[in-house]
Symmetry: C2
Subunit: 359 residues, 2 copies
Amino acid sequence: MGTFRVELGPRSHPVHVGAGLLDQVGKLARDAGVSPGRVALITDSNVATLYAPRTADALRSAGLEASVIEVTAGETSKSVATLSSIYDRMAAAEIERSGAVFALGGGVVGDLAGFVAATWLRGVAVVQIPTTLTAQVDSALGGKTGINLASAKNLVGAFHQPRAIIADVATLSTLPEREFREGFGEVIKYGAILDAPMIADLERDLPRLLARDGAALEGVVERSLLLKAKVVTADEHEGGLRKILNFGHTVGHALEAISGYEKYLHGEAVAVGMKVAAHLSEKFAGLSADESSRLIALIERTGLPTSAPELGLSAQIAGAMRLDKKRRQGDIEFVLLDRLGHAVTRPLGLDAIQQELSR
Amino acid sequence: MGTFRVELGPRSHPVHVGAGLLDQVGKLARDAGVSPGRVALITDSNVATLYAPRTADALRSAGLEASVIEVTAGETSKSVATLSSIYDRMAAAEIERSGAVFALGGGVVGDLAGFVAATWLRGVAVVQIPTTLTAQVDSALGGKTGINLASAKNLVGAFHQPRAIIADVATLSTLPEREFREGFGEVIKYGAILDAPMIADLERDLPRLLARDGAALEGVVERSLLLKAKVVTADEHEGGLRKILNFGHTVGHALEAISGYEKYLHGEAVAVGMKVAAHLSEKFAGLSADESSRLIALIERTGLPTSAPELGLSAQIAGAMRLDKKRRQGDIEFVLLDRLGHAVTRPLGLDAIQQELSR
């Protein structure tokens, strides 16, 4: 098991990564300052069957009496309607100010339960227990929480740092193959923007990782979270540096939006976006053709897509990018690489982006 | 016009009190750091007719393009359903991270719009423009925001300090008499817990105040806000001192709850609660009979009620108090006065409270 702290002043908190940690969530939460008493365990319909009883047992053995609040698996649960039903169940469960919310699941559960915790009684503790690779390497850390509106994703939310993050890599063994591989989108991103040796290690270890070797996964989850923690510590509220975490995401988000959020998983869209960003990096940030090819080849070896027919709809992609960046005119701030392991931002005109999309 | 700052580190902000300030809200907001561009003006159906166009004009003249978002007047608008509809209108109005929310109205609008601002794009600026006496002397300051659930009030919320508070006492001239007088519940509370000379001044000035004399109202609004600011600065998140602001509220909240939130306005329930608290203060905190009588006599002169038939239902009141304090057993922490102008807290058994209620 690896443990480190995210240093954020009064919001500092521990991160635990290891196999079998689910059985220790109660103890680890108590160690992080969660008070004994009634708590909520928010999870989704897929994860509940697999892990909710075991997690609730682990909580109970540490004096935390969990009411399980289950939502339907999938992005549609990040809605005002589901939020409202969770609030009612929080009231019925009599979760008090000294209580806590445990978020057991992937990114949807983490975002939703985190937002519930941010707004319940003006803020109660949340412990993130991510069970997908994407959530373990990325979304569980950083304090971003939120829900979607019919008109757009993540317009409503709050920054609410967890009291602790507990990533049990053993839960990755039950992930469907596509959801598992999706996680490598964010993993490769961390190497690309911050850690060139990590890219070399991924090139070497990918077969073991894709075979879900526990030790290899533990290493990669911890390394990704350490990199993200470094960025979040430097820029908690996305005023500057944190923007580099959006490498591959500008095109990725646009691709998700114009395909109606159904066709591509987030990590798949990011993978496609990273290839576009790699080419733009060659043109506008001095990334060498050799390093660009290495990055794209690594993405391809994970089985993630690196192209999408929708990229041909370059005008639609551009429109979605403007909407995502809340910019109606002018350049788009794009995260690029000047070398593997180092990100920069560059203002790019839409014409330059569309030209790359259309090649 | 009086202006002072609430000192809360990075969340410090100005408070302006004066007649006719509505015409300066744009300039004052810009001075407080609100960026030019699209903003939301959230108000209710009563206030919209009276003051929304004038406020929107004042915003426009300072480069703030306001989309007016109107909700039905009344406590029922503090709901998840209204919140959801406001979010949709915020999306349609394309309010960006650099945008702002202006809360024009009483406590309901302030709480609701403040919560919208706390959660829109993970937090945008809010400017509180209170138009009722209760909101001007009390609820606009302190950063508490939230909505109600069907099961209970204010379970969902966030601490979100305003960027500025702009209290135009001229708007008090259009308040219906009952809503106007309601505000004296909180005004007298501030004197009772923190400022004995203020009680003497209220005894002297009450006729002018009840006649809505502008200069007198400006003085009392500013004095109340200064007192609240002192408490909030010392204890922003209600860890300790801020609890004294609940003088009269323990019984007041219970009275509101058991009467279904329809019969009594908040300030009326607090007035009844203050009389009970005055008697308990004599018994358990050494308040002199003379000062207790002075306090009660002052409340009575405002026309606010000091008794309620529901107090006879002492078991129901006690049950509602337990629920309000999230306590299933044990003593209730009660805010009492040991002398006029000085509050203390005392743990009181339910039997002692019920005995006082039944006399």
